[in-house]
């Protein structure tokens, strides 16, 4: 039976792991290969490396960071942040990413999803879908540019569309919950997982093992979290034990 995945996320800038709330007030949290290896030893099923650099120099560093992480990592690695073209994706895949996440560029030019799927296969084409509750409360809209811009695009329709364009997986982040430690947006998660047949990774808002359990119950195939692991509050191992005790299929 396919097990559910626990995925720590490393936000990286200029070759270092950083942490902060909604990319504000970033603090240094360590060396990417060291942290990546530590998470693998704890039982992480996969890692996401999100490049939050704001400059071209930072982007070039990200490729180097991927290369260093790959040498020590024996589990899958998804890399996202600033990917604008199949050419950007190729550089990251050649450096050792197994999947590439596209966010803003996918909204501005959906063909980039198709290009990546055609050249490298749907299984490496991840669409990072950032959604926020509409201001009038009716449903969710897609947000881009790290949450700075509301697009008006319906998030549920967009989830169904990216699969038609060739996405092999959706990384779904609730922009309302991200950094709030109030749990994943379960309604959003359940709505998205119903309209697509590709795996959905839940992201944004996790603070306790219970939150991860709720997301998996709501239809997530995998759960992503950053701060609860970085702060050392929980290890991947303790969370896996919590989920296994509650009959969730988890890799031992």
């Amino acid at each position: 039976m396919l097990t559910r995945r626990i995925i720590p996320c490393l936000d990286c800038r200029d070759g270092r792991v950083v942490k902060g709330v909604k990319f504000q007030g970033l603090r240094d949290a360590g060396d990417p290969p060291t942290l990546a290896h530590a998470y693998e030893l704890q039982g992480a099923d996969e890692l996401v490396l999100l490049d939050v650099s704001a400059t071209p120099d930072g982007r070039a560093t990200a490729v180097e960071t991927v290369r260093k992480v790959r040498e020590v990592l024996s589990i899958p690695l998804t890399v996202g942040g600033g990917v604008r073209s199949a050419e950007n994706a190729r550089k990251l895949l050649e450096a050792g990413a197994d999947k590439v996440g596209v966010n803003t560029a996918a909204v501005e030019n959906p063909k980039v999803i198709r290009d990546i799927a055609d050249q490298f296969g749907s299984q490496c084409s991840v669409v990072a879908l950032d959604a926020a509750r509409r201001l009038d409360g009716a449903g969710w809209e897609v947000v881009i540019l790290s949450g700075k811009k509301r697009t008006g695009l319906d998030a549920i329709d967009w989830a169904a569309k990216v699969v038609e364009f060739g996405a092999g997986e959706i990384l779904l982040t609730s922009w309302d919950r991200d950094g709030t430690r109030s749990g994943y947006d379960l309604e959003l998660l359940s709505a998205v997982s119903k309209v697509t047949n590709v795996p959905v990774i839940a992201s944004g808002g996790a603070a306790t093992p219970q939150h991860l359990l709720e997301a998996l119950d709501a239809g997530a195939d995998a759960v992503l979290a950053a701060s609860i692991f970085h702060d050392g509050e929980y290890t991947v191992q303790t969370i896996k034990q919590f989920l296994t005790d509650r009959k969730v299929p988890i890799r031992p």
């Binding site: 024996s74 050649e94 490298f120």
Partner: protein, 213 residues
């Protein structure tokens, strides 16, 4: 300590080879990427990786002459590891690109997973080998596949996995090992499998015949 064994990794196109190269290095090998069919003929170890689609990959193997060298290598029984799409390419055909002939080393067909499942299968699933397997052990492996081998060819020892349906997740015969999952992404268990194959395969050579399609 003995010298690190040279492993020729076939470039099948735009596949990401970094993970498979890093995995082989961690297993103690000295891998290199090749597009030269003569490397497939002479290298002590060959890896046929594969990310992408069945049809385009077969076209490249045929055009480059790699396909014939791989069939000869199978007949000679020399150590060869096929990963993911690599396993599927050994077969006669695939539902992914009907009408395209595979390498035909295995005269069986590759099928798509039922559409009631989430596709691709992405994640860790249990691999259950038959007890006579030389390289494979019980454990969890990382899969990223939409297609699968439903049945086992005669003369091969299988491992099975369940994703909605029961499918063949790996096969071995002599010095040949083919995995639907990614050993290079399957943690310590995958690393041990690569080590097993590197150390045991040279002493397990079995000659075979590829039947004409």
């Amino acid at each position: 300590m003995a010298e690190a064994p040279k492993v020729a990794v076939i470039r099948t196109g735009l596949a990401n080879l970094a993970s498979v190269l890093a995995g082989l290095r961690r297993a103690g090998a000295d891998p290199f990427v090749t597009e030269d069919p003569s490397d497939v003929g002479r290298s002590p170890y060959v890896v046929l990786p594969g990310v992408g689609a069945f049809g385009p990959a077969m076209e490249r193997l045929n055009d480059s002459g790699m396909a014939d060298r791989l069939r000869e290598r199978y007949e000679a029984g020399r150590p060869t590891l096929s990963v993911c799409l690599g396993l599927q390419l050994l077969h006669a055909s695939s539902e992914e690109n009907p009408g395209v002939e595979g390498l035909g080393i295995i005269q069986l067909h590759i099928r798509k997973f039922p559409s009631t499942l989430r596709i691709p299968q992405l994640g860790w699933n249990e691999v259950r080998p038959e007890s006579s397997a030389a390289y494979l052990q019980l454990g969890y492996a990382y899969f990223a596949n939409s297609f699968h081998a439903p049945s086992v060819a005669e003369g091969w020892t299988p491992a099975h996995t369940t994703y909605g349906v029961n499918f063949v997740s790996a096969i071995e015969r002599g010095a040949w090992l083919a995995c639907q999952f990614h050993p290079e992404l399957s943690g310590d268990w995958g690393l041990q499998l690569l080590k097993n194959w590197l150390s045991l395969a040279p002493s397990r050579i079995v000659k075979s015949e590829v039947k004409a399609c």
